[in-house]
Symmetry: C2
Subunit: 156 residues, 2 copies
DNA sequence: GTAATATTGATATTGAATTTCAATTTGTGA
DNA sequence: TCACAAATTGAAATTCAATATCAATATTAC
């Protein structure tokens, strides 16, 4: 299905339900609960562990493996991105709208992450791919450094 | 020390020796052996395991931990890059000359890796950083997709 | 409802990265 | 050359996130 910009939750739910139907998977309480928690999670780029801890408060019986598998499912049906910022644990974030793409500035001081999308960069990436006869499916651009407040602290 | 473009091995060796002196580390046979093997390694982007296996043939007594630690040392003194292409194992490659930087096209079909450097992309990255008041120290751009021969195979 | 199939969650396993530690090697300076 | 302090080595143990296992349970199609 087509997700419009700033996909409301109901549309996401529909997309998930369609995927479950298509793949002959099953709707479960757990998937609903994790769905709600994930798409309402206040922070960006949550780890499995973080989401699991949050979920356990309301649902002490939920298992880590289920959270892990459900986030993989969201990724599979393109409702979530999996990210790896080099700290050795995968992070997940909702896809904001169908086909969305963005990249990241990552502060190595405080861990702050800023998202951006730059058309020029995308354009030149495509050029590089073409030049090398590559069919690019996705890409990852991460800028590592210090955010303004960490720069200030360091200058002192 | 300043490395000139296409740093010859002797210059790299000097740089390493200087770093060892500065940090009050010690010169060892093992470090020399690993140095030789790493900077002469025929493939790009070698894993610790791969280099270790190669080294063991001539030096059965060398330990995995030593190879691991020595590659970290090369990284520390900026003679090597550590890469992570998403297959769960770190890879190392020689820095070609001081301050060198390049990015990667990665074939998810056959694992082929093509290196590139694109000044425009670097330039726009800097712009993005500036816009967000970020002091960027390094960045990583990876384009994932299919190389020409894998595209051909898939089209059949 | 029944049967087939998928899911769950506790637990075990995997595998790369990293640490530990006793034995050894190296650099320093008398 | 010698002795001491400090760093290094290599085998083995540990860590830790990711993933697999599997019996019990839940869901779906008929
Ligand atoms: Mn993001
Ligand atoms: Mn490279
Ligand atoms: Zn910061
Ligand atoms: Zn290929």
């Amino acid at each position: 299905m087509q997700l419009s910009k700033a996909t409301p939750k109901s549309e996401r739910k529909k997309a998930l339900d369609e995927y479950i139907l298509k793949k002959r998977l099953k709707s479960t309480k757990q998937r609903d609960i994790i769905f709600d928690e994930f798409f309402n999670y206040p922070g960006q780029h949550v780890t499995v562990e973080e989401l699991y801890e949050k979920l356990k408060k309301q649902n002490p019986k939920i298992g880590y493996a289920t959270v892990y598998r459900t986030l993989k499912l969201f990724k599979e049906c393109r409702l979530a991105f999996e990210r790896n910022f080099g700290d050795g644990r995968a992070r997940y974030e909702p896809v904001k709208f169908e086909g969305e793409h963005h990249d990241h500035l990552i502060c190595i001081g405080c861990g702050r992450i800023i998202e951006f999308a730059n058309l020029r960069i995308e354009q030149y990436s495509r050029e590089v791919a073409k030049l090398n006869d590559f069919e690019v499916l996705n890409h990852k651009l991460e800028l590592y450094g210090y955010c303004s407040s960490c720069t200030r602290k360091r200058d002192k």
